[in-house]
């Protein structure tokens, strides 16, 4: 199985300098906010989600990935007019899933990253739909084509972004 982790190097957790843990999420939030203003379709991309996935699949530690996802999600909530916790819950679940899967699959492979991000993007939309539509009773429309396009776009951007973020990590064996 190509996608499964088969060596010690592949399952080895990576750590990052502490400043990266702070700067990258903030940069993701800021760029998301700024670029959506100037590029009309940039709101298809979810940079905070990609950062959450990246931390999950590289850290492979579900607890920290859950906490990182929660913090990033709540920060993203704070920029919206929604109640705090909608993105927090969804990104906590995504972080947990990414870290859990990161132990089992080869996350160094671009194809794996592409597929994982595609799936996690759809999963996040499903969690948001569940929360907003059925728990909070808010308006949330699910359009399959739109969600597929969004998932593909995020997966493509993720491959590039993850390659850039790989440059900042410190490998621990």
């Amino acid at each position: 199985m190509v996608l499964m982790a088969s060596s010690r190097r592949e399952v080895g957790a990576k750590s990052f300098p502490l400043v990266i843990y702070v700067v990258v999420p903030l940069l993701a939030l800021g760029l998301q906010s700024l670029l959506s203003l100037h590029l009309s379709r940039f709101d298809l991309i979810d940079l905070p989600l990609l950062v959450t996935i990246y931390y999950g699949i590289t850290q492979r530690e579900p607890v920290s990935a859950t906490l990182v996802g929660t913090v990033i999600g709540i920060a993203q909530d704070a920029l919206t007019h929604h109640a705090l916790g909608i993105f927090g819950i969804s990104k906590a679940v995504i972080g947990y899933m990414a870290a859990s899967l990161g132990v089992r699959v080869d996350t160094e492979n671009h194809g794996t990253r592409l597929l994982l991000t595609f799936g996690f993007t759809l999963a996040q939309t499903a969690i948001l739909w569940l929360l907003q539509r059925h728990m909070l009773g808010q308006q949330f429309a699910w359009h399959w084509f739109h969600e597929m396009v969004r998932a593909v776009a995020n997966a493509v951007v993720a491959v590039i972004l993850f390659a850039i973020l790989d440059l900042t990590r410190r490998r621990d064996y």
């Binding site: 700024l34 579900p62 909070l136």
Partner: protein, 466 residues
Amino acid sequence: MESFFSRYRNALVLITVLLAQVIGLAVQVRRPEPNAADGGGVRLIRSWVVGLVTPPERLLHSAGHGIRGLWMNYVDLIHVRQDNKNLKSELDRLRLEEDSIAEDARQGQRLQALLGFREKYVYKTVAAQVIGTSGTEQSRVLLIDKGSHEGIKPDMPVITPDGIVGKTRDVFRHTSQVLEISDGTSGAGVILEKTRIRGVLRGNSWGQPEIVNVSPDERIQRGEPVLTSGGDAIYPRGLAVGWVDRVSPDPDGTLVNVLVKPAANLSKLEEVLVITDTGVEMPEQAEQDLSEAQQAEQKASEVLAERLPSRVDPNAPPDQQDAAQDDSAEEGAARPVKPPQALHPDHYTPSDTPPATELVPGQKITDAQSSAVNGGENATGNGPEPQAKPGVGAPDNVPGKAPSTTPGNSQAKAPGTAAKPKPKPAGPPTKAAPKENQPPTPSETPPAPSGAPAAPSQTPQPQGRA
């Protein structure tokens, strides 16, 4: 027990985190109003995040603005002179248009005052730069670089010169959130300009504003302007919202939703205006603009009057010149229609017959009488002249005294206007009439009863000839 926690540590942490957030959500959405202000803790978190995210955005935005300004102010100055000229001419034209609308506006104000309706005018606005968005499709929120320090409060309308954008929501010290009209949780009272159908505007799932729950009406056409109705107590009445894009049936089937194309380009916003103050009186600046426009129109009218060819023909006979001048002087005054002057008067020509007082019932008019009348009139060369009735007013045939008006003129005066001549504009001098057959001046013409034309009283009725 310890082994249970260590074994399911990850899952327990996840469940704990999720449970805490769900409880937090429940506390936040428990408030009766969904758009009510956040609680203290939530507001603090929002303030922290906005405080962390917006400074770099502000920096990047100002850097981009500076580079763009450098280009616009120093490099891209081609055709500026021509543009300036075009804009000035357009400004003149708009001033004239504004003045023509001013009277309608004043009339509208008077009617509103009669109805007890108090329209709100925009008094004060604060210009703000858009420095960011929420970054998600689920929340159509903008971040602007003005906050409570600049006098902004929640629920203030945010507009552009093209149309409304939304309203302020969370206001921080130097930053504010603006909820766009395309968001699903926003609401604005709107009215269709032509059909006067009212409704509530909010965003649909695709981020397009729509007027929801409207009764089906065939009169709603694509392109009809949509304005704010003022019924929501947030947006002043009459601001542009957009145009009708199309009408789509409501999921229930009984009502329709009117999709609106917003007038403001919501996807490319850079600068907006926050309306911080409204009032019931017209702002001083607007009054000043109005008076300037009126003065400009007055000047334009004078210039136009000088440039237009005069209606007075200097080569025309004096009586016609005077008539033309009098027409221009008394424009708008009601006057009876003058009969055309006959070249060869006969018995049926008006004023060709002697006064009724000289006629005898059953007696034919003799040629002598007729020629006497005709001869007298033809001698003046000024056409038919009404004869003064005995006992009512005699012609003032004072030798050497020129008539103040021409004969034709005096005949054409409307009842009531004959005794009160209007001032005439300066024109070519009129020739003095011959000393004989001086026509009566308007002041000497007997005043006709109100509503009765002057001419019939000076001409005999047909039965007098029988």
